[in-house]
């Protein structure tokens, strides 16, 4: 009964200050929503990929070696930490389908258990028959019972489709260096039995050893020992997390994690600030009611909980709404954009993180409420019932500058005093605006940064019209030299080599070998100075230097094919915004006893492209620089979407905070304002008295918002993706746009407050002071 009355009171009180409580609720929902949304995206990508890895029993390493012998398998199998080894054949093959899409062929032994397809339909037989990529099949209208032919070793092999599946290796599937985004129309995979290849190669052939290690195995030590076991015949070792698909999955998940670490913090802060200002005012206004409750015999604890519960309820409601917003809104919108192939798109929420965030939120709302009313409860009922001592005006520091103070108008004096008296309010609104500007500046700068990447790569660094992948079995450097194409050409060999860092770490990293003149690849330092590929050593991109822990002047060891390691000096570093790797001249490569076998030809045409050449059978694939650039932007689309969502939230932040401050400022001074109205102040003069303060916060918020935005952008830049070498810069345009947008939000908010102020009743002035 007694409890019921207090509940009702709480409900009524909240209704009276609904603008404030709704703002707290909105901030809480946004904070939790953003955190949960981004966090569950990370969690979802991680869970789905782990599930697929275990469903397909995916290997931890693949050791590429031509024709692995039983002895090789035995040697790797006995390395400490290795649980299982198998051999397989892995190669890209042309198909007979319209548009000549490529299929990656995995040929497995009939008794194999590693790297299995995750069957969605049909079966994977022990002998002939093939399991086709389910998304590829869908894109090409193929189903069970159809067949597809692939060209291997110059001969066509027809594969009856017995099953449709997903692969743990092809969650994010890219064909080769000409593609930027997964596209099931042009690329997929097919899994067959190794026996099916005997008709083509005369026997079952293998080129890879799949290695499954124990969960606690030291992967780098396994890699080193596998390398020793195979010796000179080793082509390369790829760990699962370094493979194209897995590393893309990891970096996507990483992006969400980075965003979720940075952005929600602001919203928690603002939720706490609004709660503080609302509750302090509410409790102050209820001073005599608190005295009454105490006089009636309510315990200190009951009263404390009563006022704390306001914050707790709003916090709980906000957390629940945030969960919904994050999971069903944020995550649901963004997940389909990530281009990952999963059996389904169920969203996983990390309940531990959600719980932790909710507790943090409850501290920001309930905790602050408790803190706000604790102070009053120490007074006796008699003191409380007597009413609050009237607020006194204070002289402010500005008055010491009497020359200035005497010149300013009375209304500005009033604004100045009032603002300085309610510091917590202006701090709150300044932080709100700072957050809004910061989020917008960060969002736009990140966007600039990402657009800048494609510009840096596809405009500043590369200047070819076409990148042509050539059939290495039919061409060599001399052949390409003699093509007599009408344009500038540059031969490149793109490969990946085993690298041993100075600290002993062993990794597989991309290496580009090209002539020193390099007319179509223009490498530059971070300051924009041109650098050329050194004659006696390698050039390494800046970010890779950081990742591997080397500097120009250090040396690393490179694995040569069919030969041992060789020590090479890192002579030069260059800046590449995306796509980290090493560069070497063809002459230096040859001096390491290696063959320069170009894999691609870059061409800048003098006139129209030579279509005859492009359609000749020495050309495997080609793409234009524009297509690559477009593909790159498709790839970053999801960031753009996330950024628009962030800007919307920045707007909500500014709106909630400024509206609140405006309303607070207004309702605390209704009596003063009504008096001024009676004295003959016009509506708009009254409005300025209240709302000008908001523009001060906007001004300060803008000033502080820009560095905040930079800080956020920089944090994101560093944590975004290990392939990308980014640093946040803030352009004047970004500042201008963010400033204009923030001002617009502030103006709209002030209009809303002004509308509310129209209801100001002059008769308030005649009422007695409570």
């Amino acid at each position: 009964m007694v409890k019921g009355a207090l509940w009702k009171k709480a409900f009524q009180d909240m209704r009276k200050s609904k603008a404030q409580f709704i703002s707290i609720f909105v901030m809480a929902a946004l904070a939790i929503g953003m955190l949960t949304g981004l966090d569950s995206l990370y969690r979802t990508v991680d869970t789905h990929s782990s599930n697929l890895y275990s469903a397909t029993n995916l290997s931890d390493l693949w050791v590429t070696v031509s024709n692995p012998s039983e002895k090789d398998l035995w040697r790797i199998g006995r390395i400490a930490g290795v649980e299982q080894v198998e051999k397989r054949f892995s190669i890209n093959a042309e198909t007979n389908l319209p548009g000549e899409p490529t299929l990656h062929v995995y040929a497995l032994e009939s008794r194999s258990t590693l790297d299995q397809p995750d069957l969605q339909a049909g079966r994977f037989g022990k002998r002939s028959g093939a399991v086709l990529d389910a998304t590829f099949a869908k894109a090409h209208g193929l189903g069970l019972g159809d067949s597809v032919s692939v060209k291997l070793n110059g001969r066509w092999l027809e594969l009856p489709i017995e099953g449709l599946a997903l692969s743990g290796e092809q969650i994010y599937s890219l064909k080769n260096s000409t593609t930027m985004t997964p596209d099931p129309n042009t690329y997929g995979f097919v899994v067959i039995r190794a026996d099916a290849l005997s008709g083509i190669y005369g026997q079952a052939v293998f080129n890879q050893i799949s290695v499954k290690t124990a969960a606690n195995a030291d992967l780098s030590s396994v890699v080193r020992q596998a390398d020793e076991a195979i010796g000179d015949r080793l082509i390369g070792i790829v760990a699962r997390d370094d493979s194209v698909s897995a590393s893309n999955v990891i970096s996507l998940a990483q992006q969400f994690k980075t965003l979720s670490n940075v952005f929600p913090a602001l919203f928690f802060l603002v939720a706490a600030l609004i709660t503080q200002s609302t509750m302090v005012r509410l409790v102050e206004n209820q001073r005599s009611q608190i005295g009454l409750l105490k006089a009636l015999g309510y315990s200190r604890r009951t009263i404390l909980w009563h006022y704390t519960s306001y914050g707790v309820f709003v916090g709980l409601a906000g957390a629940a709404a945030g969960l919904l917003l994050g999971k069903e809104g944020f995550a649901r919108i963004l997940l389909p954009q990530v281009n990952l192939v999963f059996p389904d798109y169920k969203i996983y929420v990390d309940w531990g993180h959600f719980l932790a965030a909710s507790i943090l939120l409850l501290l920001c709302t309930g905790g602050i409420s408790l803190y706000s009313c604790r102070r009053l409860l120490d007074d006796t009922p008699a003191v409380l019932l007597r009413g609050k001592p009237s607020k006194s005006g204070n002289h402010i520091f500005l008055e010491r500058m009497s020359a200035l103070w005497n010149k300013i108008k009375f209304s500005n004096k009033l604004i100045a005093r009032n603002t300085l008296k309610n510091k917590s309010r202006i701090i709150m609104s300044t932080i709100g605006v700072m957050g809004c500007t910061g989020v917008i500046v960060a969002a736009l700068s990140i966007n600039d940064m990402i657009t800048g990447i494609s510009g840096q790569i596809y405009q500043d660094t590369f200047s070819y019209d076409h990148k042509v992948l050539v059939d290495t079995s039919k061409t060599d450097s001399r052949y390409l030299n003699n093509l007599e194409l009408d344009g500038v050409t540059q031969q490149v060999q793109e490969t990946a080599v085993e690298v041993i860092c100075p600290d002993g770490r062993q990794k597989m990293e991309p290496l580009t070998i090209t002539p020193r003149e390099s007319p179509l690849i223009h490498l530059k330092t971070v300051d924009g100075a041109s650098v050329s590929i050194p004659e006696n050593g390698i050039l390494m991109t800046r970010k890779l230097c950081e990742t591997l822990g080397v500097q120009p002047g250090d040396s690393i060891r490179l694995k040569r094919s069919n030969q041992g390691y060789v020590t090479v000096p890192v002579v030069q570093s260059a800046y590449m915004a995306s796509g980290q790797g090493m560069y070497m001249t063809d002459t230096y490569w040859k001096s390491l006893n290696q063959t320069f076998q170009p894999t691609a030809l870059l061409i800048k045409w003098n006139s129209a492209p030579d279509e005859t050449f492009l359609s000749s059978d020495t050309v495997e694939d080609f793409t234009t620089r524009e297509e690559q650039e477009a593909g790159f932007s498709d790839n970053t689309q999801i960031m753009a979407l996330a950024i628009s969502l962030l800007i919307a939230m920045g707007a909500a932040l500014a709106f909630a905070v400024l509206y609140n401050c405006g309303i607070l400022n207004y309702s605390e001074r209704v009596r003063d304002l009504a008096t001024l109205r009676v004295l003959g102040f016009h509506q708009e003069e009254i409005r300025n008295l209240v709302l000008l303060e908001n523009y001060f916060s906007v001004l300060f918020g803008l000033i502080f918002g820009v560095p905040t935005g930079w800080l956020i952008a920089q944090t994101v830049a560093v944590g975004l993706d290990k392939q990308m070498d980014l640093s946040a810069g803030i352009s004047p345009q970004v500042v201008l746009i963010a400033g204009a947008v923030t001002l617009l939000f502030a103006w709209i908010t002030n209009q809303a407050v002004a509308k509310k102020m129209k209801n100001l009743d002059m008769l308030e002035a005649l009422k007695s002071v409570e």
Partner: protein, 233 residues
Amino acid sequence: MEFITFEQVEREYRVGDAVIKALNGIDFHFGRGTFNVVLGQSGAGKTTLLNLLGGMDSPTAGKIVVNGHEVSGMSERELTDYRRTQIGFVFQFYNLVPNLTALENVQLAEEICPDPLNACEMLQRVGLGERMNNFPSQMSGGEQQRVSIARALAKNPQIVLCDEPTGALDSETGRKVLRLIRDVANDLGKTVIIVTHNAPIAEMAQTVLHMRDGAISQIETHEHPKDVEEIEW
């Protein structure tokens, strides 16, 4: 010829379906520079009259003319200008802006009025020359009311409207405040209207409107109004 004229002024309020007549067709005149009192119990309609005269409300019927301007029928903006230039208001609870010093509270008039009086002089006139830089919270009720009077007069209005100016003060202080209002208004030639339920105050007025149930029950005129000192309450 008359300075303030009310002709058949009515004011109705709608509360749900019910219509409440707060003023039921009242007529009266006040002359320029006179000292007048509107007397009545609460609910008699005196606050409504004050609101109408002060330009804070408009009548539902009838005509109000002040200084040759018809106040009834003015727009919201015109009413604000009317309050700004014609009316000085003294409130029961002083209504000083707490964030402004005494001087600044008076200076406020300078900012909005075309022809204000000097704020310092006005404060000296009400005897607060020494306390100009104090904030309202640092002053007693009587002092605050004197600032309020200075503020009302500094606007240099034609009419000074006082809503229970002594209501929150003890009798001695109230007496001083009333004398101040009369003396200063007299010197400056202002028309004063005091609204009160405190009958003895009426004795110092030239014209007294007695109000009851939204109508004027009696208009009393004094040829020789009493001095404040002579009034007992």
